[in-house]
Symmetry: D2
Subunit: 145 residues, 4 copies
């Protein structure tokens, strides 16, 4: 996949940030888009990420929403960011082979960026199912609150 966007230094920089997050490595997250107010984060659904009914644990969806929202904010506001908070509403049990969190900036203010995120699973046939939606805000220039 990297060969396709070898000329995109912003995506490469964002991937370096993601690699520097041990928790993202533990979950197996990767960035597949980063730019123009949008970030897409994906991870393979594996058994370790499930809950007791066999579907993806909500905590994985929360992680993906949180991180995708913050990376989306980073497309317009640089790297001195801290996630302020978010809301997530679950829509359906999440299963399949892939989780995709697609986050968009709604408004990038000087000190706060508000984003939305759609969380979808993809099954083995490539069918996407929207499983959760989130909305959150990211503080700018404020890492040491």
């Amino acid at each position: 996949m990297d060969t396709l966007d070898i000329d995109d230094p912003a995506l490469e920089n964002a991937r370096a940030v993601l690699r520097a997050q041990p928790f993202s490595a533990l979950l197996g997250a990767r960035l597949t888009a980063f730019g123009d107010g949008r970030a897409v984060l994906e991870l393979d659904i594996r058994d370790e990420l499930r809950q007791q009914y066999g579907v993806l644990h909500g905590g994985v969806l929360g992680y993906a929403a949180d991180n995708a929202l913050t990376f989306a904010a980073g497309t317009s506001a640089g790297t001195d960011l801290i996630t302020a908070g978010y809301t997530i509403d679950y829509l359906k049990p999440a299963d399949g082979v892939l989780l995709r969190a697609d986050a968009q900036v709604v408004r990038a203010g000087r000190t706060r960026v508000v984003c939305r995120c759609d969380l979808a699973t993809v099954d083995a046939e490539g069918t996407e199912t929207l499983v959760a939606v989130a909305q959150g805000s990211v503080s700018v220039g404020n890492r040491t609150r």
Copy 2:
């Protein structure tokens, strides 16, 4: 720790549910209280759970809030529950040796339980720091939506 509450079958049952969640095992979560509208979930802070600045990843806090809220709801509403959604506001960078998510039922309705959760870290000296607060709702009797 289990020896202290060997006579608490509700806590033991809740721990069996938690053990049946592979993602909770991956994160190392344990229940230290369960009953009377309250659930406390704890996990040891280890390097795999951090983000790029060395503090606990927000996704771990989101996981802990989500799971503690749902277990708290389970103290009054049984096991046929599904988390509907939650909001989390981060307060401070989270570091220390332990994360504790302490969730309380605010109101247990027939079809929906609303809870709040305080997330605190504990350092090596035992000092607690409130690092995030959450509020969420859990649907009852609704697992197969």
Copy 3:
């Protein structure tokens, strides 16, 4: 305006519900679209609806989000609805001549409908400005919780 959609009984029924809400009458709200998972609620911005800095009070935005979300849910789930809750993020001070809350169903489940809402002001020249975004859920078949 009513003459344009005199053949739309669903919109007329929804308007009758809105007229039955004294608080909506106090604020001067009207429905301009209702159907296909979408509801649009508008109100004229007048001095009584402002806060101390001269812009629209956040409480008016919250009202509009809440009501538009619930009407949007009503397009797919009938009238036995109760708003469960919502999140709103303010983006900009809200001013102009008109407030428009445009809500869409994200997913209509059997017992819960999740919606998003965009809140925009319109100035005297017709320019729209997005001033807040909301996300909320509505319980179905549950008015007597």
Copy 4:
């Protein structure tokens, strides 16, 4: 009521701010406590504030949560505040003679104050019923975003 706290200049100043909000005057809101990280806002329940089933409109609860959260933030962060957003979960239909929104600061950071709010109705016998809970954040030093 004012005679009881005539020596509390902080409460008097906060009341002056509330009086400067035309929307708060329209709804009949008053501040009954302001200080030490807490603000209490009350309003009499009257027919104009109801929805179609005869109970208080959710928009009134949203207004009260929003304003109480922001005033609570003002107890620790001064007057250069702007509400960033909030989440509200409704618990029960709201009826009675009085609505009381009791908001507390959870954490006052340098640029952001996070608060929680309990919304209760009081009936003619003085019985309080918790009808909604909210959590929100207020930006400091940022009115002109």
